[in-house]
Amino acid sequence: MKESMRESIAKIAKRLNTGRAPYIVSGVLIVVGTLLVYMSPRSILAFLVFATSGAMVYFLKMNKTVKLALAVFIAVILVPILGARNIFYLEVIFQIAVFAALALGLNIVVGFSGILNLGYVAFYAVGAYLWGFFGSQQAFLLHEIPGTAPLNTPFLMAPEWFYIFVFLGIIVAAFVGLILGLPVLRVRGDYLAIVTLGFGEVVRQLVNNLDKPLNLTNGPQGITPIQRPPMPKGLVDAFNSMVSPLVGNQVTESQFYNIVFYFIALVVVILAIIVTARLDDSKIGRAWTAIREDELAASAMGIPANKMKLVAFAVGASFAGGMGVIFAASRTFVSPDSFNFMQSIGVLTMVILGGIGSIPGVIIGAAVVIILNLQVLQSFSLYLTQLRQSEAVIPIINFAWKNLSTQLDPAKYQRLLFGLILVLMMIYRPAGLLPAARRKRELKGNAENDALKASKDAAKEKSNG
């Protein structure tokens, strides 16, 4: 029964993926998703349909140019317009992009080279505090007690520097990765995981306590305000005059920043994907996989294991550093709380959920976790609150919703849910939602083999017939 169901599903999937069908499917999905989001901008179901249409553009079998055109159309035109109608979607997509880049970076370390890093978020903190310090007034408050900034303190740098600091964040985090990696990579396996966990906490405690003797980080209060990149005057108005007839509302300047940061994060994610994919398919990527599989054999094949592991550490860290700068600017605020151990675990969850070592996998992982977190759980909470305010009762047991304890708020059960997801994944899909697959190469030996097989099959059929 189960088998036949699985077979029929596979058959439908195959039919949808051949010939002209995928074009129709993705086209219909995009139109329906867009209309749904347009008509009910607050419904998560509508947003999920829209997100699926984006994913389908990647997964369905279509002409490469068509795929690219559709992706650009969705990312550059549809998302900003729909985002202008409900700015919260842009926040969700921005967070997906930020965490997708983090997950890609961690994937290089954990997925490709097999180094379990439980303190990855430290590099994110490095980037965030880099712009947090240089992009704020903090440099003039070194001798002030936290929270007593005098009025009219100037900013250290002009906001234009933000763009340079994105690259600086990448470089500085890579450098910190190298420095941390040198002592850390001397230990292996479980010990390595514990040491990286320690390093993650060390960085958090550092930023927490570096308000004395010199007030570098403003301690637990965090640094604010941090400058955002400058926007050309009139850009918001131009956007509004073009888009507001379509969406029916105007965006304010601070809402427009959501669109700006969405595009910045998108560019960084695309760069991260390209870098990851290209490194993976090269001498360096093969060396990483070899080290993960069998370090001794790898070094006997001439791979300098420690050096390659350091490279993995640095490259992984660099993605987090760049995104840290963007994060700090988008929030205009950084504090040590954003970089706790749960964040590292969160990124690791995305990698494991999506598929260790698989690039599309970890991006899907990031999307699933963020959507669950920001939308699904929140809207359950909202629904529950509504029920609590009504006179409704739970049928059969006759229990009034309003007597339900507030402790049962779904948004509070995020960690329980992640735990459950991870346990279930480990049992049913240990390789993740989209497991990593080795690339098949076009080899001439294979062609011969296939031809041989084909002729054998033909001969067999003949003798059977």
């Binding site: 490194l279 070899a290 599989e293 070094s299 094949m301 001439g302 300098p304 190469r441 001439k444 294979n446």
Partner: protein, 264 residues
């Protein structure tokens, strides 16, 4: 390339593990283009000696010289870059990678790819990748596993895995190839094929081969010289015939019955 040039010279190599001296004062040299075997009972220190040469262990005393260069203090990857490649007693392929990728890993020290070339996909990177891929295919054909390039290494039958491991070592363009029990677990037909392969490696490619082997038939047939180890020391060295007749070796390793069987 002079015929009788010494390729690898070890002098008084000692390796201890705590109180146990696993390799004791090994003096040993191997010439270019020769097949040389090390035999000895279990626990005689053969594999330890191998690991010391390939840099996985560091010798406590003595010197190891390859092409006139001291390699005793180098790390395994640098030794491989000097053109010494090896296989393992228990096959150590990268099991979740395909056969082609496994062999391409062997080319690591040969491939010249800088990070910039990789990220920008420059012409030279593409050429190098293609070259490595073609080389891997050529080696697959050479060792007799062609057409299996896209299979995962762990899905191959045992004999084929052994061959892939040899191909992977060959991709490093070695001048000296260390084979640790390459015919272990093979049936007589397979080990016969393996023998032919070793001879071809020496004759076609001029590679010197150092062999650890238990299968006496293989050892006697293929090697030009044999060293016998027992309790970490060299107890005899010579031509196969001399070794087979050496009473010390018979005592330590072959046993009387086996020795008489060989001499008839």
């Amino acid at each position: 390339m002079a015929e009788n040039e010494n390729l690898l010279v070890t002098t008084n190599v000692v390796k201890r593990f705590g109180g146990l001296t696993a390799v004791n004062k090994m003096n040993f040299n191997i010439e270019r283009g020769r097949i040389f075997s090390i035999i000895g009972p279990n626990g005689a220190g053969k594999t330890t000696f191998f690991n010391t040469i390939s840099g996985i262990y560091r010798a406590d005393e003595g010197s190891i010289e390859f092409k006139g260069k001291q390699i005793g203090k180098m790390s395994p990857d640098r030794i491989t870059a000097q053109r010494i490649a090896r296989t393992f007693q228990n096959i150590r392929l990268f099991s979740s990678m395909t056969v082609v990728e496994n062999i391409m890993i062997g080319s690591h020290t040969v491939l010249k790819q800088t990070p910039l070339e990789i990220l920008l996909r420059l012409r030279r990177f593409k050429d190098e990748e293609k070259k490595a891929e073609l080389k891997a295919e050529e080696l697959m054909e050479y060792v007799g596993v062609h057409g299996m390039g896209n299979e995962l290494a762990c899905n191959l039958p045992y004999g084929a895995q052994r061959r892939v491991e040899i191909a992977r070592a060959l991709a490093a363009q070695p001048e000296l190839l260390l084979l640790d029990e390459p015919t272990a677990g093979m049936n007589p037909n397979e080990s016969e094929d393996a023998l032919l392969l070793f001879q071809r490696l020496r004759d076609d490619l001029g590679i010197a081969i150092l062999l650890i082997e238990h299968d006496m038939r293989v050892v006697m047939k293929v090697s030009e010289r044999i060293t016998v180890m027992d309790y970490g020391e060299k107890i005899a060295e010579g031509l196969p015939k001399e070794i087979a007749a050496n009473p010390k070796v018979i005592e330590a390793y072959l046993g009387r019955g086996a020795a008489s069987g060989l001499s008839t």
